[in-house]
């Protein structure tokens, strides 16, 4: 048990890194500040690994361990400790957060080379890792919420990192405001939980979940889902994520692909007993929102020309898959896809960062092409990520996506159908990206003009390619975590069993169906790739990229118009109400009292004898009153 207590070190190390960098970051300068941050994150990974190994030594029923660091709040019956919950779910999360985080820290040293705010960048990065670990490891909802807000704030800092450009600053604000809507849901869910259960500790809340009234459980579940929608960019709160690409590319990889956006999925998985206690339509709603987001975002990704925007919408789409899994009761599959997605999406983002770096800041895929000869390592690793996300076996994405689709089929073939269409689109748009960037003509050379001189693309330094290679390796092999061949190869399922086992959906499909579905998925992926090959490489079919898709179904603009038009009028009305009615009432009371005083001051003559007369008259009046009443 003692080794498990070390769990507090996991968030403490990045916090220490943050504190040191905050105080001495500028003096350390480049690259020492970056190395220190990487070291802090790496040490945190080692600490997580130590806890993980210790946990492996315990038997299944003793793997959940709470370590309380100190009392935080103690108000009446409201008792909150800063405590850490080390259990299979949180440690699995912490492992990939710190692991991939370390790689991205390392990559950032190369990517941020020469930036004047080099050390500040790593301050934020370490603070982010700390917040994310608090979120994941918190033993009660309030500590999770602390991390939840922390990652939101860091996200804001990092999206608006180059804030001297107007667009970046407003993208940061957009992310922050959109997240606040979700946070409202989380907050109210906490109030409701405390009001009904009387505690915010996961151990108490989740054990008491079966005794909750279904309507209460439904309310808490839906409110938490709203929070998750904000953080994990689901309909209707996904708008911030594509704009979040304004930040440095490693940030996009770390925050907006691998870690922060997965926190909604983590939260849903963590509170699975509450979801199970709610009405039956709650998981169905979650599944449809998830699969709807997946399809919606995939259609948008097809028509984007910015190399990072494609990946951003692809992230929204893949997160949709995870929510589909949660809604189908496939919590293991959700976490499995989260882990594989973290590996290949971090790889793709870092790969795109490498391309942008090599192209001297160019992000438009229409001015790329033929880069495979000039950036061989980036190209090779990017292709691995592409095959993984497209769902080509044996790469990681295939196994996790296939498992989600299997559960979706079991819940409702309609869900599966939407999922498989999304898979087709995924394979298509990712292939489109690979073909446009790495294959075909060297458009940047051909179409060079005054405004866009021919860039001289070059391969990135080893600091950037090393993480790419490691992540590519992961993207190939991480699928072995949960192979579907035999019960004994379901490693992740066995590992997560103590946390989610009770509410995991029990599959009712034959082996033949499983194989059939897997074959359909493979064929779908290959068709998508083939289609993209015909359209973008062979040019046999004319590319169809309607404006409505490029403009993201005008969703963003509709919201802007709504908030700018009727929304602003509404806010104005509320502001007027505040100024006239609310302020009017307050100022009116004060004015009435003041006026009354002005009127009464004439009575205060200052002559002592007139006061005495007043008292005398009063006494006489009282006497008369009492005497006449007595008679």
């Amino acid at each position: 048990m003692e080794t498990l207590d070390l769990v507090w070190l996991v968030p403490a190390l990045p916090l220490a890194g943050f504190a040191i960098l905050l105080l001495f970051g500028r003096r350390l300068g480049e690259p020492a500040a970056g190395w220190l941050a990487t070291l802090a994150c790496g040490a945190s990974f080692v600490a997580t690994a130590v806890v993980f190994v210790a946990m492996l030594g315990e038997d299944e029923h003793h793997r959940s361990h709470v370590y309380d660091l100190f009392d935080w709040l103690h108000v009446g019956g409201f008792d909150v400790k800063v405590g850490f919950l080390a259990d299979p779910l949180s440690i699995a999360m912490a492992l990939f957060v710190t692991g991939i985080g370390t790689l991205i820290h390392l990559y950032s040293i190369g990517y941020m080379h020469g930036d004047e705010k080099f050390s500040k960048y790593f301050v934020y990065l370490n603070l982010f890792v700390f917040s994310m670990l608090m979120l994941v490891l918190g033993s009660n909802m309030l500590v999770t919420f602390l991390g939840w807000e922390g990652v939101g704030a860091c996200s804001y800092f990092l999206i608006a990192f180059w804030f001297s450009k107007e667009a970046n600053a407003s993208a940061g604000k957009k992310a922050f405001v959109t997240n606040r809507i979700g946070d409202w849901g989380f907050l109210v869910a906490m109030f409701l939980t405390f009001a009904t259960v009387g505690s915010l500790d996961y151990s108490v809340v989740l054990e008491g979940a079966p005794e909750l009234a279904p309507v209460t459980a439904t309310a808490i579940g839906l409110l938490l889902f709203l929070g998750a929608c904000g953080k994990s960019a689901q309909i209707p709160l996904f708008v911030w994520l594509p704009d979040a690409m304004a930040g440095p590319t490693p940030v996009s990889a770390l925050i907006h692909a691998a870690t922060m956006v997965t926190s909604g999925v983590y939260l849903m998985t963590r509170v699975n007993p509450i979801l199970a206690q709610g009405y039956d339509w709650v998981p169905t709603t979650i599944a449809w929102v998830g699969v709807g987001t997946a399809l919606f975002a995939a259609t948008i990704a097809v028509a984007q020309n910015d190399i990072k925007k494609v990946l951003a919408y692809s992230t929204v789409s893949q997160l949709g898959y995870m929510f589909l899994a949660v809604g189908c009761g496939a919590y293991v599959a959700a976490i499995f896809h989260m882990i594989t997605h973290a590996a290949f999406k971090a790889l793709l983002f870092l790969g795109s960062g490498s391309v942008i770096h090599g192209m001297h800041g160019e992000q438009d895929m229409r001015r790329m092409g033929g880069l495979r000869k000039l950036m061989p390592l980036t190209c090779a690793t990017f292709i691995v990520g592409w095959l993984a996300i497209a769902g080509v076996p044996p790469f990681a994405g295939f196994w996790s996506k296939d498992e989600i689709l299997l559960f979706a089929w079991d819940k409702s073939p309609a869900l599966w159908a939407v999922g498989i269409v999304t898979a087709l689109l995924t394979a298509f748009y990712m292939s489109r990206q690979v073909f446009m960037v790495f294959f075909g003509e060297q458009r940047w050379r051909i179409e060079a003009d005054e405004e866009h001189p021919a860039a001289e693309p070059h391969e990135s330094p080893w600091l950037m390619t090393l993480p790419l290679v490691v992540l590519a390796g992961l993207s190939v092999v991480v699928g072995v975590l949960n192979l579907p061949f035999a019960d004994s190869t379901h490693f992740l399922e066995h590992w997560l069993h103590p946390v989610v086992g009770a509410n995991e959906r029990i599959l009712d499909v034959s082996t033949a169906t499983k194989v059939g579905l897997a074959l359909i998925a493979i064929v779908t992926a290959l068709v998508g790739i083939g289609l993209a090959y015909a359209v973008y490489l062979r040019r046999r079919i004319r590319a169809v990229e309607p404006t409505v898709l490029a403009e993201a179904w005008y969703y963003d603009r509709t919201i802007t118009d709504f908030v700018g038009g009727p929304g602003e009028a509404g806010f104005e009305a509320v502001a007027t109400f505040d100024q006239t009615v609310i302020d009017g009432a307050v100022n009116g009371v004060a004015g009435a009292v003041g006026g009354g005083g002005q009127g009464l001051r004439v009575l205060q003559t200052g002559f002592v004898r007139s006061y005495a007369l007043g008292i005398g008259v009063g006494v006489v009046a009282l006497l008369v009153y009492f005497l006449t009443r007595a008679m």
Partner: protein, 105 residues
């Protein structure tokens, strides 16, 4: 033979009310702050006399207890009141209570 009237508690009450009336009238009609102050003291003592009388009549010690408190309060009040009056008269030897009107609203 001189009829010796028996002194009953009623006498004390009458004396008390006479003293109180003198004090009250003095307070209203005089302008010298020192005299007005003495009138107030007179009224206070009239009340204490009444308290003691009732205490005796009803055989209840509470009345006499109150008197002790009144004496203490009166002593404190004299200190403050006399201080103000002395300060006032030093500044303006012919001052009346009406000159103390700086608290006018």
């Amino acid at each position: 033979m001189i009829a010796v009237a028996e002194v009953t508690p009623a006498w004390y009450l009458v004396l008390g009310s006479i003293l109180f009336a003198i004090g009250a009238v003095g307070l209203f009609v005089r302008r010298n702050p020192l005299v007005m102050f003495m009138c107030v003291e007179l009224m206070l003592n009239a009340v204490t006399l009444t308290f003691v009388t009732f205490s005796r009549m009803l055989d209840d010690i509470d009345g006499q207890t109150v008197v002790v408190f009144v004496l203490v309060v009166a002593a404190a009040e004299v200190v403050v009141g006399l201080g103000i009056i002395v300060a006032l008269l030093r500044k303006e030897p012919t001052a009346t209570a009406d000159d103390l009107n700086v608290l006018k609203g």
